[in-house]
């Protein structure tokens, strides 16, 4: 009652708290959180009420809470938030899992730039943020830098809700944009290995409290934001700039950064010159690579590996990485077993490592192909549309596995990531998040799912045959890697 009275008084007093300036600021915050470019006064009052009444508001909605604090709307009782902040991390090929981050362990936040590629969508590169996460809060800087397995990348990306990218749809802005979280090493694989692009990692000059607020603010956007991705006006650069402007107030103090950069490469170049970043870390790329601020494209490494292997294998029938991939893994295996080449591989560590590199590249490449072809197959087979008829032919056990481990993830794939009202605080909030259950990842479960797919596969389908072929290529390449490693 008291609150309603308060609101009525405000509205009838002629003194609107929703002034022009705060209106703009609230608009900016709302835009970043919920993609609302023109929030209504009703939203303002709703959020304000929540801020006043909800005990956990500041923890769940730190951006709005910060906004209200800046505008002198202070809560009576300060809140103590949970130490750990969740992000739903997309793994390269193993689904998604919730990772809880302690801001204490985030030593620094970098602006990450992936250089351009020949793809139309990547003409101007890509920007995101990188969390340099330490093993422990008091770990040395070096240990933090080397802890790459835990580093995360958060960035705005378009979510393909089809089985494959529809370029026209992308150009028309019909894909949704979200702030995704990925493992740094997955991002490294995608850019530096899969796409042969360079990565530049530019540290932001943040105070400890700013770092804490940045991590929390990004988490809120991660769980709440859903917008339209547009190549030209609502892309990774513009969205990130907006987010940084709202979360990190210092960001707006740099005039050069304040203006909107439509292109990621321009945004990054400007940021590199700003007093808000440690641009000198990238003055020498050689030193930067040593210290984890620059990551080369691996293309030249693979070319060098090819040359190295050719030196030790005079009768090789390839002269480039692409030609190497074209040779069937069984033929490649026969070549590895040729006495002269096998002797070289046993005795020359460098050549052997180069050979392993090439085989591992074949594994990675065929893995990506497998996912692409599987997507096409699922699209054609319309498992989702035919679920009822398929499960009629299955016994209870196989039916459960089929629904849990295949249909459920496929359905979730088709749906956008569920948006929450703020940063979730407990595991129950993630009940419907696509995380593979134990039944699906256990050996028995996997075997049963494979059996089920064998029962319903369309052997005549060209897609299915293609998938089998790639899977055989993939498995045989793995065999080659295992054999090469046993040569040590």
């Amino acid at each position: 009652m008291k609150v309603y009275a308060f609101i009525i008084v405000l509205l009838t007093s002629g003194c609107s708290i929703f002034s022009k300036n705060t209106g703009k600021e609230f608009q900016a915050v709302s835009s970043v959180i919920s993609a609302l470019d023109d929030p209504s006064p009703q939203l303002y009052t709703t959020v304000l009420r929540e801020y006043q009444e909800d005990e956990g508001f500041s923890c769940k909605q730190p951006l709005y809470a910060a906004y209200f604090r800046r505008n002198d709307v202070v809560k009576k009782d300060p809140e103590t938030c949970r130490e750990k902040i969740p992000f739903l991390v997309q793994e390269q090929y193993d689904g998604a899992r919730v990772v809880w981050i302690e801001p204490d362990r985030v030593r620094s936040v970098h602006l990450l730039f992936a250089s351009k590629s020949s793809s139309m969508a990547s003409r101007f590169g890509h920007v995101a943020l990188r969390f340099v996460i330490c093993p422990e809060p008091d770990s040395s800087d070096q240990d933090c830098d080397m802890n790459l397995e835990e580093h995360l990348v958060v960035g705005f990306k378009a979510h393909i809700d089809d089985f494959s990218l529809n370029t026209l749809k992308a150009l028309r802005g019909k894909y949704r944009a979200y702030l995704f979280a990925n493992r740094f090493l997955d991002a490294y694989q995608q850019y530096a290995i899969d796409e042969f692009r360079e990565l530049y990692s530019l540290p932001l000059k943040l105070q400890t409290i700013e770092r804490d607020e940045l991590v929390r603010g990004l988490s809120e956007i991660h769980w709440r934001y859903s917008g339209e991705y547009d190549f030209f006006t609502n892309n990774c650069a513009t969205l990130l700039e907006s987010a940084l402007s709202v979360i990190w107030l210092e960001f707006s103090n740099d005039e050069s950064l304040r203006k909107t950069h439509l292109r990621p490469d321009q945004f990054f170049a400007t940021a590199q010159e700003s007093f808000l970043t440690d641009g000198e870390k990238l003055n020498s790329l050689i030193i930067a690579e040593r210290n984890g601020f620059y990551f080369s494209s691996t293309r030249s490494f693979y070319d060098e590996a090819v040359r190295s292997v050719l030196k030790g294998n005079k009768s090789a029938d390839f002269s480039s990485l692409e030609e190497y991939l074209q040779i069937s893994p069984i033929q490649r295996r026969n070549s590895l077993e040729r006495p002269s080449h096998a002797l070289t591989l046993r005795n020359n560590v460098r050549v052997r490592e180069a050979q392993i590199m090439l085989e591992e590249y074949a594994v990675l490449h065929s893995e990506r192909l497998l996912m692409t072809e599987t997507a096409k197959y699922f699209e054609q087979q319309d498992f989702l549309g035919r679920t009822s008829s398929i499960i009629e032919a299955l016994d209870e056990e196989h039916k459960q596995i089929f629904l849990e481990c295949l249909i459920k993830p496929l359905r979730q794939r088709a749906q956008p990531p569920r948006r929450l009202a703020g940063i979730p605080e407990d595991i129950d909030s993630f009940a419907d998040v696509a995380q593979p259950t134990q039944a699906c990842v256990s050996t028995q479960g996997r075997r049963m799912l494979a059996d089920t797919i064998t029962l319903i596969e369309d052997k005549k389908s060209l897609s299915w045959q293609r998938i089998n072929k790639i899977a055989q290529y993939h498995a045989a390449s793995i065999d080659n890697v295992i054999q090469l490693k046993e040569m040590r």
Binding site: Q90, A158, L165, I330, E360, H365, E367, T374
Partner: protein
């Protein structure tokens, strides 16, 4: 009257035999063998049938009927005559056989033929000559000649074995598994080559390796045939087709583990190693090409931690 006279004569003979210690030997033959020559200890005494008083003692009785072509039919028996007894023998002649002279002539002829063959280098003839000389068969018995011919045969055998070994060694070197096994045995037994157990082991190992490689190749051929069975798609087309979504997009298929499809094709061992291989594959290029890069340092630390964890 004549019958009375022969009986008297018989009685007189009997009387005389008693008087001089002789026994009576009576030999009878079949009608068609009548006239066969009867010999006692090599001395001809008459023709069959014959009855004769012979002083007591032991005798070799021989009855022979000559035939054409150096052959004869004969009968031989040792008889012991004593106390004036009568020894009656019903002679049955043998099947036609060569006479002793004919046999000897035959042996001599065989020895001459064999000698010619041996002199031309026939190892088996050489061995045969040795036997003839040992037995005095068609030649005069001579142990020294026999030894001579045995030695010659051995020398020829060694030459033949060495030649065979050389031929088969070439085949082994060209990759024939059976030849490799032959060569291994030859080294082991010293056949056609000096005994050498090290060489024998080497060739056995080579044969085993070749068998294994041939099996691997055969399996690979079958696997390759399976891979190529879809005529619509060659390896080239398959592998050079690339990804469609660059890094500015994220596919919802990350909800699906890659093991979903891999499990259909690969063994569980392979699929469980995927994550391990992927992890190493991501860091290896930088580790290899830029060993002082941050990626390389992180990889080394990860490996060190992995080793510590194992311990």
């Amino acid at each position: 009257m004549s019958k009375w006279l022969s009986q008297c004569g018989f009685l007189i003979m009997l009387g005389c035999s008693y008087a001089h210690a002789e026994s009576l030997l009576r030999l009878t033959c079949a009608d068609e063998d009548a006239g066969a020559v009867v010999s006692i200890d090599g001395k001809v005494i008459g023709n069959c049938p014959i009855t004769s008083f012979i002083p007591d003692g032991k005798y070799q009785v021989r009855v022979s009927k000559p035939l054409s072509g150096g052959r004869e039919q004969f009968f031989e028996k040792m008889v012991t005559l004593s106390d004036g007894q009568v020894e009656s023998i019903n002679v049955e002649l043998s099947a036609p056989q060569l006479t002793a002279e004919a046999l000897q002539a035959q042996s001599r002829s065989h020895a001459i033929t064999t000698l010619d063959s041996a002199r031309m280098g026939n190892r088996h003839a050489m061995n045969a000559m040795a036997i003839l000389y040992e037995n005095g068969d068609g030649v005069e018995r001579s142990l020294s000649e026999a030894k001579l011919w045995r030695n010659k045969a051995s020398a020829v055998l060694l030459e033949e074995q060495e030649s065979e070994f050389s031929e088969i060694l070439k085949m082994a070197e060209a990759g024939s598994i059976s030849a490799m096994e032959y060569v291994a045995n030859a080294y082991e037994t010293g056949t056609g080559v000096s005994k050498n157990s090290a060489q024998a082991n080497t060739w056995r190992q080579a044969a085993a390796t070749k068998i294994q490689n041939d099996q691997i190749k055969a399996a690979a051929k079958i696997k390759q045939a399976e891979l190529d069975s879809a005529s619509f798609l060659s390896n080239t087309e398959l592998i050079t087709s690339g990804m469609t979504s660059p890094g500015e997009f994220i596919s919802g298929l990350t909800f699906l583990p890659v093991s979903l499809i891999s499990d259909l094709i690969a063994s569980p061992t392979v699929t469980t190693k995927q994550a391990e291989i992927r992890s190493a594959a991501i860091m290896r290029p930088s580790s290899w090409a830029k060993p002082d890069s941050m990626i390389a340092k992180a990889a080394r630390q990860r490996d060190a931690e992995g080793l510590v964890a194992k311990r």
